[in-house]
């Protein structure tokens, strides 16, 4: 019964990745990137790599999102292209 979860999560990962590079608002991109990391963390957990999932959740979805938001706060919120 693993494959449907796998497939749903994988679809969501790709969806988040495409959304993150196509959104013009950089703050939105930061949030989407956090969502991407979190879904990726679910994928690791499904595959049984709990340590990697934990790292992904704390570093990818936690701190790096904050760093991105901080960087957006100090630069500009809109992309040029």
């Amino acid at each position: 019964m693993h494959w449907p979860i796998d497939l749903i999560v994988l679809t969501f990962v790709i969806f988040c990745a495409i959304a993150a590079i196509s959104v013009k608002d950089l703050l939105g991109t930061a949030i989407l990137f956090g969502a991407y990391s979190f879904v990726m963390c679910l994928l690791w957990a499904v595959m049984g790599a709990v340590d990697v999932a934990f790292t992904e959740a704390s570093v990818g979805a936690g701190v790096s999102t904050v760093f991105f938001v901080a960087a957006v706060f100090r630069t500009s919120r809109r992309t040029k292209d």
Binding site: M47, V50, D51, A53, F54, T55, S58, V59, G62, V63, V66, F67, V69, A70, A71, F73, R74, D81
Partner: protein, 274 residues
């Protein structure tokens, strides 16, 4: 140009997908990764190290040298952020609020520093500190996050987690303090010098444990040589060595995360920011 980029991305993607066809199946017992070292780790790690979590045993003991340089990389990231962004010039403009009358003062001369306290409170130019509910919730939440971070570091031998994750969680609790109050609160509580010393101290603990092992006549990071100087059950010596190393990693990562955050968000001024 955009079209060209799209074609390049598509080509690279196709090549990568083509490359994955050669990969062994997921969980394949005959894959090269599972036939050489994995068997040894799975059969012997618990017996040799008394650590139930194999991932921690591999990361902190069998491949301790690797993890040491990962810690050094995190330390270097903090150092690079400091060197690139830190700006020691004083900020000229400041805003204060006169607490009894709620009048906002705009001080343009940097030499005139008003004493903040009962009468005046400091205000950020671009970030208005958030309201009472957020402050209260974060104040209640932060100690629990920190306790959990310490638990993750201390319990890394038995459950998922370890120095990196625990350090990151501890660092984010401090960042949460800066976001829910203001940056000044965090900077006042943890001085910049202390953060730098902690980041270096974490790496030093790791390297120091390795060096002590060498001084006791073993290889670098061979924890089993620590038996004469560490009290307790000699069978658990490698687990204790790993714990010491993880504590070092945790301290270094915590300090590095906070250094990176403060430098990015205040443009290196350590004064005002998110």
């Amino acid at each position: 140009m955009k079209f060209l980029g799209f074609i390049v991305v598509c080509l690279t993607g196709t090549l990568l997908l083509y490359g994955t066809g050669e990969f062994p199946d997921w969980g394949d017992p005959d894959s090269p990764a599972s036939i050489h070292l994995s068997n040894y780790y799975i059969e012997k790690a618990v017996e040799e190290t008394q650590v139930p979590n194999l991932v921690t045993a591999v990361l902190a003991d069998y491949r301790g040298f690797d993890t040491m340089f990962e810690t050094a990389v995190v330390f270097c990231a903090g150092l690079a952020c400091f060197l690139l962004l830190r700006d020691f010039r004083e900020k000229k403009e400041r805003f204060y609020r006169h607490t009894p009358t709620r009048v906002i003062l705009h001080v343009k001369d940097s030499k005139k520093v008003l004493k903040t306290g009962k009468e005046f409170e400091h205000m950020d130019k671009d970030w208005v500190p958030s309201d009472l509910i957020i402050r209260t919730v974060c104040r209640i939440l932060i100690p629990f996050i920190q306790i959990y971070a310490l638990y993750v570091v201390a319990h890394g031998d038995f459950s998922p987690g370890g120095g990196f994750q625990g350090g990151v969680i501890f660092g984010s609790s401090l960042i949460l303090l800066a976001i829910s109050y203001d940056l000044k609160t965090l900077v006042r509580r943890i001085k910049e010098k202390v953060l730098g010393i902690y980041a270096a101290l974490g790496v030093l603990i790791y390297v120091g444990i390795g060096a002590i092992c060498m001084a006791m006549g073993g290889n670098f990071l061979d924890y089993s040589k620590l038996v004469p100087i560490v009290p307790g059950d000699p069978h658990h010596i490698r687990a204790l060595g790993m714990l010491g190393v993880e504590i070092g990693v945790g301290i270094a990562v915590t300090a590095a995360m906070v250094i990176i955050y403060i430098n990015i968000v205040s443009e290196g001024k350590h004064d005002e920011g998110l």
